[in-house]
C-alpha cells in the first residue's frame, strides 16, 4: 500500500488547440524536452471547442487533472476563440472550487507554437501539482474505476 502511494501516477488530459499549443507540444518534442508520459494530448481546433462536459467526462473516467492549452489572448487563429474559452473556464473552475473540488486539478495555460519549453515546463509543473494532490476522489465515478 505504501509503495502504491509513492508510485502514484496521475492521469492527465491535455486539450491543446491545433494552431498554437499543439504546435508548441510538437516543438517540445522536436527539442527533446521531456515531461511525464502521464500527459496525453487531445487535439482540438481551438480552446473554445473545449466543452465543460469534456472536462467533467475526463474526471469521471478517471483523470486526475485536466489542462487546457490555447493560443495567447490576442493571438487566436480564429481571433476570438480563446477569449470565450477564458471566460467559460474561469467560471467553470470557480464553480468546481465552490463545490469543494481541488482547484489545482484544472488549469488553463496559454502556450504559443514557439513555446516548446513553456509547454514542457507547464506539463512538468502540472503533473507535479496533481501528483501531490493524489488520486481524484471528489469527482470520481467508482463504476469507471473497476
Amino acid at each position: 500500500m505504501q509503495n502504491e502511494m509513492t508510485t502514484f501516477k496521475p492521469k492527465i488530459v491535455a486539450f491543446c488547440c491545433n494552431w498554437c499549443s499543439y504546435a508548441g507540444a510538437d516543438l517540445a518534442g522536436t527539442n527533446r524536452l521531456t515531461y511525464p508520459a502521464d500527459v496525453k494530448i487531445i487535439r482540438v481546433p481551438c480552446s473554445c471547442r473545449v466543452n465543460p462536459m469534456f472536462i467533467l467526462r475526463a474526471f469521471q473516467r478517471g483523470a486526475d487533472g485536466v489542462i487546457i492549452c490555447g493560443c495567447h489572448p490576442g493571438d487566436c487563429h480564429y481571433t476570438t476563440g480563446n477569449y470565450y474559452a477564458r471566460r467559460r473556464m474561469t467560471l467553470l473552475f470557480s464553480m468546481l472550487d465552490f463545490l469543494g473540488i481541488e482547484k489545482e486539478r484544472t488549469r488553463v495555460e496559454w502556450v504559443s507554437a514557439a513555446e516548446g519549453a513553456k509547454f514542457a515546463a507547464t506539463m512538468n509543473d502540472f503533473v507535479a501539482t496533481v501528483t501531490k494532490l493524489g488520486e481524484n476522489k471528489r469527482l470520481e465515478d467508482l463504476r469507471c474505476k473497476k
Partner: protein, 666 residues
C-alpha cells in the same frame, strides 16, 4: 462497425528507439474494429504509402489510424494516399507518437504504454468519423470597394489593373476623400492634389472601374465569393449623363450661404455645387436641404441656365443590386469633434482651428487662396501655437482616445515648417507629449523643422487658451523640461485633433458581419500575419478604417488588400474546409447564442416549419451554418446549451471517445 487499419511508423529510429513499435501494432490489433495492424520503417515513404493503399483495398478498410509523427507534419500526406486508394481522406486519424511520445520519453516501457494509449484514442475517434466532402462555391469576379479616398482609389486601381471589374461606392459627391483637402504631404512636401487627382482621373477612365459617388451601401447579404449588395444612389437632382460640369448653375444659384463642407465651413457654397475643381465625377449636385426649388417649388434658376438640360428636380434615390466576390472596406476617418475641449477655446475663437482646417487655410485652392490669414479678421498672424495630442493617448479623461493618432506629429512638423518657410517673421511653437517620427525620412524631416526652420518644440501640454478682447489668444502652458510655466500671446492656435473611424463604419461592420475593436476600427484576421483581411472571409481592409496610418502606409495597405482580393477573384471556385459546424434543427432552440460568438457571421436564422410528433406543424426559429463561411473553430458548439451545434471532424462524441480511451484503466 468500422473496419480499421493501424499502421505504426518507426520513423527510422526516431520512434522505434523509445517505443516498441511491434508491441504497439500487436496490442492495437486486438482493439475492437481493427482488422489489420502493421508497423513499418517509414510510413511516409512511397513504399510506406503503398502498404497503406494496399491494405485499404485488400482489407476493405473504412478507417485508418497512423501512429507516426505529428499530424501537422504528414496528415495531408496520408489523407492524400488514402484518397488515392478510394478511402475518404477524413477517415484517417493520426496518433502522434513521435513529437508527443518517443522524442520526450526516455523510458521505453513508459513510451510504449503511452503510444498504445494514443493509438487507442485515435481508434476510438475513427470509429465515430464520418466521410466528409469539401464543398465548393463559385466566385463572382467583381470587387466592391467601399470608400473612395486614397485607400479605396489605390485598391480599385490595382484590382482593375489585374483585369477584374471593381465598383467604388463613395458617399460624398466626389471621390478623393480627405487627401483632397490636404495642402502638402510629408515628408517630401509635394502637393496632395498634384499626386492624387491623376489617380482620380485614372479611376474615372479605367473601363474596369465604375464609380458610384454620392452613394451608400444599403444592404449586404451572402458570403465570400457571393456577396449580394444593395447600393443606394442618392438623388443629385442632376442627370450625371448630361451634366458637363461647366459650373454655370453653381454661379447662378441664389442660395449663397450654405456652409462649404469641403472647406470645413471656413467659407460658403451655393445650394447647387461641385465640391472642388478636380472633382470626379465632375458633375453638379443639388443640396436638397437648401435648394429653394426642392423646398418650396419657387426658383428653378439652375434649370434655366443649364444648357445641357441636366437639372432634374424629380430625381429619386435609386437602388442598385450588384453581386461581388470580394469587398474591400476603405471607409477612412474623421477628426474627432472638439466640443468637449473648452480649454482650447475652439468654439469661442475663430482663430483656434484644427489641423485639417489649417490645411485648407494654407491651400492655394482654399478659402484664402493659400495666404495664411487669421480667420477672425483676415490679418497676418505672427505667433502660432500648435498643440499636439488633442484627444489622442488620453482615454482616462473620458473624452479622448486611448490610441496614438499616428499622423499628427508629422503633419504638425510639416505645418510648422511651411509657415516658417513662407513667413519668416513668424514665431512657431509646438507643444508635444512625445514626438513620434518612425518612418522613412520622417525623423530627418522633424529635425529639419527644429534645426533649420527654428520651430520651438516644447515638451508639455497647453493648459488653457483664453481669447482676449484685442483678438490675441493667451496660451498658458508648461515646459516640462525647463519645469516652468509659459504664457504666450498667440495669433492662432492649431489643434492636432485625434482621428477616429468614420461614423458610418459601425453600421457597415454590422452589415458585413465584420468585427471591430472598442474604438470602432475594423479588426484584422490576424494582427501580424493577416493584417489586411477581416476575420470574415472575403472582406478586406484598406486604410485608416483598420487603424491610424499616414498616406504611404495607407497606399501600401490598399495595394496589399487589392492583392488579397485579386487572389480571391482569380479563383473560379472556393474549396471549403469540411470540418465545419452544423446544427441539428430538431434540437436547436433558436436562441442566437451561437450566432453571437461566431467570429465569421457564418450562422443565420430562419423560421422553418416542422411536422411535430402530434401531427401538427410548428414554425420554429432554427440556426443554419453556411459551410462556405464557417472556419470550424467550434465556439458555437459550447455556446449552444442544447448541444444542437456540433463540429464535423471534432464532434462532441469523437472528443469524448478520445477522453474515454485515454482515461480508461488498463
Amino acid at each position: 462497425m468500422q473496419r480499421i487499419g493501424v499502421f505504426v511508423c518507426w520513423c527510422g529510429s526516431n520512434i522505434a528507439a523509445t517505443v516498441d513499435v511491434a508491441a504497439v501494432s500487436d496490442t492495437l490489433k486486438n482493439e475492437p474494429g481493427v482488422v489489420f495492424s502493421t508497423n513499418y520503417q517509414y510510413m511516409c515513404s512511397e513504399s510506406g504509402q503503398n502498404i497503406l493503399k494496399d491494405a485499404i483495398r485488400d482489407y476493405q478498410l473504412t478507417g485508418v489510424v497512423i501512429c507516426s509523427c505529428s499530424p501537422r507534419m504528414h496528415e495531408a500526406t496520408f489523407r492524400k494516399a488514402a484518397a488515392a486508394a478510394g478511402l475518404n481522406p477524413y477517415m484517417v486519424e493520426i496518433a502522434n507518437i513521435r513529437e508527443q511520445c518517443s522524442w520526450i520519453h526516455k523510458d521505453k516501457a513508459a513510451g510504449t504504454e503511452k503510444a498504445i494509449i494514443l493509438g487507442r484514442a485515435a481508434i476510438a475517434k475513427v470509429h465515430l468519423n464520418a466521410p466528409l466532402t469539401a464543398g465548393e462555391s463559385p466566385v463572382t469576379k467583381r470587387a466592391l470597394v467601399i470608400g473612395g479616398g486614397i485607400a479605396g482609389i489605390q485598391t480599385a486601381l490595382d484590382i482593375a489593373e489585374a483585369g477584374f471589374e471593381v465598383d467604388i461606392v463613395e458617399k460624398q459627391p466626389t471621390i478623393g476623400g480627405k487627401m483632397t483637402q490636404l495642402d502638402k504631404t510629408f515628408p517630401t512636401l509635394d502637393c496632395a492634389a498634384c499626386i492624387l487627382t491623376p489617380k482620380m482621373v485614372d479611376c474615372a477612365q479605367n473601363e474596369n472601374i465604375s464609380i458610384y459617388a454620392y452613394s451608400e451601401v444599403e444592404e449586404v447579404k451572402g458570403f465570400v465569393g457571393n456577396f449580394h449588395v444593395k447600393i443606394r444612389k442618392k438623388a443629385r437632382y442632376v442627370d450625371t449623363t448630361k451634366c458637363t460640369g461647366c459650373g454655370l448653375c453653381t454661379e447662378k444659384c441664389p442660395v449663397k450661404k450654405v456652409s462649404n463642407e469641403f472647406n470645413l465651413g471656413l467659407d460658403n457654397r451655393r445650394a447647387v455645387y461641385i465640391p472642388f475643381a478636380q472633382a470626379v465625377p465632375k458633375v453638379a449636385t443639388i443640396d436638397a436641404d437648401h435648394c429653394n426649388m426642392l423646398k418650396s417649388g419657387k426658383c428653378g434658376l439652375c434649370a434655366k441656365v443649364c444648357t445641357a438640360g441636366a437639372i432634374d428636380y424629380k430625381q429619386k434615390d435609386e437602388i442598385i443590386d450588384r453581386e461581388y466576390g470580394a469587398i474591400v472596406v476603405a471607409t477612412g476617418y474623421q477628426p474627432i469633434a472638439l466640443d468637449k475641449y473648452d480649454e482650447f477655446a475652439y468654439s469661442q475663437s475663430k482663430d483656434v482651428v484644427t489641423s485639417l482646417e489649417f490645411e485648407r487655410l494654407t491651400n492655394a485652392a482654399g478659402p484664402t487662396g493659400g495666404t495664411l490669414l487669421r480667420p477672425s479678421d483676415g490679418t497676418h498672424p505672427h505667433t502660432l501655437v500648435f498643440v499636439q495630442c488633442v484627444g489622442s493617448r488620453c482615454e482616462d479623461d473620458g473624452r479622448g482616445k486611448s490610441y496614438c493618432s499616428k499622423i499628427c506629429c508629422m503633419y504638425t512638423a510639416k505645418h510648422a515648417m511651411l509657415v516658417r518657410e513662407k513667413y519668416p517673421d513668424t514665431e512657431v511653437y509646438v507643444f508635444y507629449i512625445d514626438v513620434r517620427t518612425p518612418g522613412k525620412n520622417f525623423d530627418e524631416f522633424y529635425r529639419r523643422a527644429v534645426e533649420e526652420y527654428g520651430v520651438h518644440y516644447i515638451k508639455g501640454m497647453v493648459g488653457k487658451v483664453a481669447p482676449r478682447a484685442d483678438g490675441k489668444l493667451m496660451v498658458q502652458a508648461c515646459d516640462l523640461l525647463a519645469n516652468e510655466q509659459l504664457h504666450i500671446e498667440a495669433d492662432m492656435v492649431i489643434l492636432a485633433a485625434a482621428i477616429e473611424p468614420d461614423p458610418s463604419a459601425r453600421h457597415l461592420a454590422t452589415m458585413l458581419t465584420a468585427s471591430m475593436d472598442t474604438n470602432d476600427f475594423f479588426t484584422e484576421a490576424h494582427p501580424k500575419l493577416r493584417p489586411v483581411e477581416s476575420p470574415t472571409a472575403g472582406i478586406f481592409l484598406s486604410g485608416v478604417c483598420q487603424g491610424p496610418k499616414d498616406i504611404p502606409e495607407t497606399v501600401s495597405q490598399a495595394s496589399a488588400a487589392a492583392a488579397k482580393a485579386i487572389g480571391l477573384l482569380a479563383k473560379n471556385k472556393l474549396t471549403c474546409n469540411p470540418c465545419v459546424a452544423h446544427s441539428d434543427e430538431w434540437m436547436c432552440n433558436g436562441c442566437s447564442a451561437c450566432e453571437k460568438v461566431c467570429p465569421y457571421g457564418a450562422i443565420t436564422y430562419m423560421d422553418k416549419e416542422f411536422r411535430m410528433p402530434d401531427r401538427t406543424t410548428a414554425i420554429r426559429r432554427v440556426a443554419s451554418v453556411n459551410p462556405a463561411v464557417c472556419q470550424g473553430c467550434g465556439a458555437c458548439t459550447v455556446a449552444c446549451p442544447s448541444g444542437a451545434m456540433d463540429l464535423d471532424g471534432f464532434s462532441n462524441s469523437q472528443i469524448m471517445a478520445e477522453v474515454d480511451a485515454i482515461c480508461k484503466m488498463k
